[in-house]
């Protein structure tokens, strides 16, 4: 099947070209098809830049995220930004992404460097996908800050067979437009998941060191009272889909465990604007695991306002956790929130 070019910019089909009593021209159909192809191939942020606050050591530390990867996500770009302290020695780090080939990075002292690592995805999928990397300091100082962002790169071309591209050549001027040629476009126009926000918030500290569970960086709670995972609630606005909508459902995933199998880790989400507490998800695993997904409701953007906020107020999302039952301690090391 043909590969279809993805435009670099959205082409705006003229509204006046779609007028009652006049034939809709092929160029207008073509512009709309290009919009659809752009929505598919525009690239997508899986992990908004997040700061990893744990100290990097000579052990292998594992960081995990979950995001909604897409069919068109053939290449992921992982960007690691190191902020070193002046006076430190050179630092050498080994990074492994999703079990791939190790990449060695050298950080000169006092430098701010971003290193881009390209990951080729063998079988892109529309799925709630785990993204994992390990990092190990080989030499030098560990006194630096590290942040990471991951995005699916925009595509130059997409195909009609597996990626639902619209064949623009079937909509060319002065050629016949068969009714079947517009069907892929209609399919896209009814697919409200196009443009989903594939990654909205992540927090991660190492859950394993040298392969073994580690509690050094985890948030812990030995009480049966809910405690906040983060210092403050984080701003969250979902995208607006239909007119009049004020809220949307997002999906949260958590990674945690308990020290004693008779205890349970319980996690819930509180949203400030709606003053709403979500349902809870739990685990009694004594080794780190992803808890089952938790869907919760937040404000969506109000596109009639200057900044998208409803009532000029950010909806802040607090993640809370506690231990219930038995004794011991509940641990949590990862939060991922995205539009499912």
């Amino acid at each position: 099947m043909p590969d279809i070019a993805v435009p670099a910019l959205p082409l705006i089909p003229s509204l006046s070209a779609i007028t009652t009593g006049r034939t809709v021209r092929a160029s207008t159909w073509s512009d709309m098809a290009n919009l659809g192809n752009l929505a598919i191939g525009a690239g997508s942020v899986l992990v908004p830049e997040t700061v990893l606050t744990s100290t990097l050591t000579t052990s292998v530390d594992t960081y995990r995220f979950r995001a909604k990867t897409r069919l068109a996500g053939k290449h992921r770009l992982w960007c690691f930004t190191f902020n070193d302290n002046p006076g430190n020695a050179d630092g050498e780090f080994e990074i492994v992404i999703n079990g791939g080939t190790p990449v060695i990075i050298t950080i000169p002292p006092g430098s701010i460097q971003t290193y881009r690592i390209l990951e080729e995805v063998s079988v892109p999928a529309l799925a709630d996908t785990e993204l994992v990397f390990t990092i190990q300091r080989a030499t030098g100082s560990s006194a630096l800050n590290l942040s990471v962002t991951v995005f699916e790169l925009p595509r130059a071309t997409i195909d009609t067979a597996t990626e639902a591209a619209v064949d623009v050549s079937a909509l060319r001027p002065r050629g016949p437009i068969y009714d079947g040629a517009t069907l892929p476009l209609v399919s896209l126009a009814t697919d409200v998941t196009l443009g989903r926000r594939t990654g909205m918030f992540h927090w991660a500290v190492p859950s394993r060191r040298a392969g073994a569970p580690i509690t050094t960086f985890a948030r812990s709670n030995s009480t049966t009272t809910f405690a906040d995972v983060l210092d403050l609630g984080v701003p969250m606005l979902a995208r607006a889909r239909y007119r009049g909508e004020t809220t949307r459902t997002l999906r949260a995933r958590f990674y945690g465990w308990v020290s004693v199998g008779t205890a349970t880790l319980e996690v819930q989400v509180f949203t400030s604007r709606l003053a709403a507490t979500s349902a809870t998800v739990t685990t009694s695993s004594t080794t780190p695991v992803w808890l089952t997904e938790l869907d919760f409701t937040v404000d969506c953007e109000d596109l009639s306002t200057s900044d998208g906020l409803q009532s000029a107020t950010f909806d802040l999302v607090d993640v809370k956790f506690r231990r219930t039952g038995g004794a011991g301690t509940a641990y949590i090391t990862n939060i991922s929130i995205f539009e499912n």
Binding site: N83, L230, D307, F314
Partner: protein, 198 residues
């Protein structure tokens, strides 16, 4: 601003465009609207992080009227509108001071990163500021929540043939600290997301 006519998806019966059906212009307008809204709302969250009981991340201190960079992001994937300008970013900043007061300025640049003090002194609309004396972390009330990215440089990287010769536009977000007296402060959280509304 949003390019779609209604700023939202409109529901319609897709079977109306089946074989042998006449094509209604109202229906075509809905298709147009929905495609534009899909592209508009593709806007992504580019930066979002928050500390968790850690006190030493991204601190800076300095003397009167100096600008010190405290936080600097990696490259962020941004998208452009039909006229080539990037979508504006909605921003928010959490911070605290060690003592006294401190002004925090969040700066967004396209292409070349906001690295130098001169970048922090820019007054071209691509920054937002707030002053606080809070010693515990709070979300600041910035003088604006929407930052329009500069338009002079919209494409900074042409990727290799290996990944498809596609233009990738990136931006960076930085946070600088300053004050009319000596200052010492800490960045506790940053949020930046593309917005397609008004």
């Amino acid at each position: 601003m949003a390019e779609s006519q209604y700023g939202a998806f409109l529901r319609f019966d897709s079977t109306q465009l089946s074989d042998n059906d006449p094509c209604d212009t109202d229906l075509v307008r809905i298709v147009r609207n929905n495609m534009l809204h899909a592209v508009d709302t593709h806007g992504s969250v580019l930066v979002e992080w928050m500390t968790h009981g850690v006190t030493s991340v991204y601190t800076a201190s300095g003397a009167t009227n100096e600008y010190k960079r405290a936080y600097f992001s990696g490259p962020l994937l941004i998208r452009r509108k039909a006229d080539g300008t990037p979508y504006p970013l909605r921003v928010q900043l959490a911070a605290n001071v060690v003592s006294g007061s401190c002004t925090f300025r969040i700066v967004v640049t396209c292409g070349a990163p906001a690295f130098w003090e001169a970048d922090a002194r820019l007054n071209d609309g691509a920054c937002a500021s707030a002053t606080t004396s809070s010693t515990s972390s709070i979300w600041l009330t910035l003088d604006k929540t929407l930052i329009q990215l500069p338009r002079e440089r919209i494409v900074d990287r042409r990727s290799t043939g290996k990944i498809g010769d596609v233009d990738v536009t990136t931006a960076t977000v930085a946070v600088f600290l300053t004050y009319t007296g000596s200052f010492s402060g800490r960045v506790a959280g940053v949020y930046a997301a593309e917005y397609c509304g008004l």
